[in-house]
Amino acid sequence: MSHAPAPYEPYALSPEELQAAVVRYASNPIYLDNEEWVNDDNPYRRQLRPQVAKYLNFSRVLPKDEILTYESLAAQRLLTSIYDADLVFLPKADLAEKWDDFRQFYSPGNRALGEIIRPGLEKFAFGFLDDEVEVSGKWTKDSLVEFLRALQDRDLSVPTASESAIEKSADPQRAARMWLIQFAPDFLSEASPMIRNVLGYYGEAQSDWFKIIIDEYGYGVHDTKHSRLFERTLESVGLRSDVHHYWQYYLTSSLLMNNYFHYLGKNHELFFRYLGALYYTETTLVDFCRRTADLLGRVFDDQADVTYFTEHVHIDTHHGRMALEKLIIPLVETYGDVVIPEIVRGYEEFQLISEIADQDFAAQIEWMDAGPQYKVLHAPVWAAIESGKVTAPIAHLVEPRGELSNTHCHDGDELCHIVSGTMKFVSGFGSHQILEAGQGTVIRKNRLHGAIIESDECIYQIHSVEDYRKCLS
């Protein structure tokens, strides 16, 4: 009998095993399509569109130029569900009616299946950062501190593309509500990813990090807990504050932003990367929240409760300083230069992800605002298809009244053409076009949308034209 240990084999799923496990996870009844646009105070229901999962390939690293594709959206929705299963979510009321969903979401089977697919999905969804961010040279504590402090010298007062998009929008209130919805996955469970880092033992820095969390949790006074402040912001502009009420309206990059911190917090080998990302976000949030409070005040005629944002203008001044002086510098002094490249990497990675999210949201607002124009563009694009000038793959669909196509996006431009019946085409929160027989709309690449049938039956076609502009020339 040999007592030699078996060779160690690192955990990995084959592409086929990963795909099968994803389909199995997503097919849980709590993840099936919704018949409504929103979830009604049920934090366990998340639409993962399992019927499409078998066509997706998560066994690769998604390159940056594909980060807004449907596969990316699907991966981020899956990861949100997996990370959320570590947190406690209860509805605001009527748990008895949701008891089965509650038990199912937190069941060992659902959680285990999520953990099985998580490493593969994380590699797929975050692997692009290995190519996009590269740290080199010999870093020391002094060069790190100079590098991080340079952020304070940067002009952070310039509005982001998202803020400008709201200001210039045809409907600034609708755009601002869509914006607040994007923050909900993070702000309603604020600091939860961070708390993953204060479990365990690592000395004095652990206690200093806990002080930041105490601030986020309002020192145990519920009305000052940051998530409660954000609930009041949502409610003050007529939005619901139950968890994932607006699940179908989350953009890919909004989930990417939130999931990034869970990814770092869940995988403790990335602990030092989290510190860099923390410093970046806490330092930049001061100006961001100041501008946001002003913007929401203007857009909602001072009716929006902006306490969440004004509180962060104050407290994040301290948090940025604490992240540097109480966490980063002491940990570098304790553990040496080996941890610095990871801190630098986290700082740059979150900056990159923030930029992606900013551009994505601005593009979505442009898409929502341009709904009437894209409806008009149906005519020339349809003419090009009808005349044979353009040939594109076609999907023929027949759907009954009330059939809701849960939100998704496509990897190229498409033309929706209504043959008969009526469709309500939704391009974002509070944004839709009514399409009748003979009408339709151009659907732009990567833009979130969904649809519901408003006639007894609707026959329509989807033409995958790739780039609609080629149909116009």
């Binding site: 961010v133 590269e134 740290v135 080199s136 040279g137 870093w139 020391t140 630098v344």
Partner: protein
């Protein structure tokens, strides 16, 4: 220290600090900040190629070799984010500098 952000390639890919031009080199062995002048007679190291089979760049003027291993391990600290690289130069924060463009050899500009 002087913290500067430069383009990885094209316009604005070179910072001249205290009289020395620096570029960001992306090679098959890794990326690093490269002084663009050879310490021998000031030849254009930004146009250098690798010595075959070795981790050394050969200056096109007098074929002096420069170790890449040293630049990778002990070079000027830098981080690239997409097409922008931020460099922490050892010079004073108020040191004069100029940003301009220098072409790079194929072996120093691998994506």
């Amino acid at each position: 220290m002087l913290v500067l952000s430069l383009a990885v390639s094209g316009t604005g890919n070179c910072a001249t600090v205290a009289g020395t031009p620096y570029v960001y080199a992306r090679t098959e062995l890794g990326s690093f900040v490269l002084p663009a002048r050879c310490p021998h007679r000031g030849g254009p190291l930004h146009l250098a190629a690798f010595e075959p089979g070795r981790a050394r760049l050969v200056c096109p003027w007098h074929e002096r070799a420069t170790s890449v291993s040293r630049s990778l391990k002990a070079g000027i600290p830098a981080v690239r984010r997409g097409e922008v690289v931020t460099v922490v130069f050892p010079h004073d924060a108020d040191a004069a500098y100029q940003v301009e463009h220098l072409p790079l050899s194929a072996e120093l500009s691998r994506a």
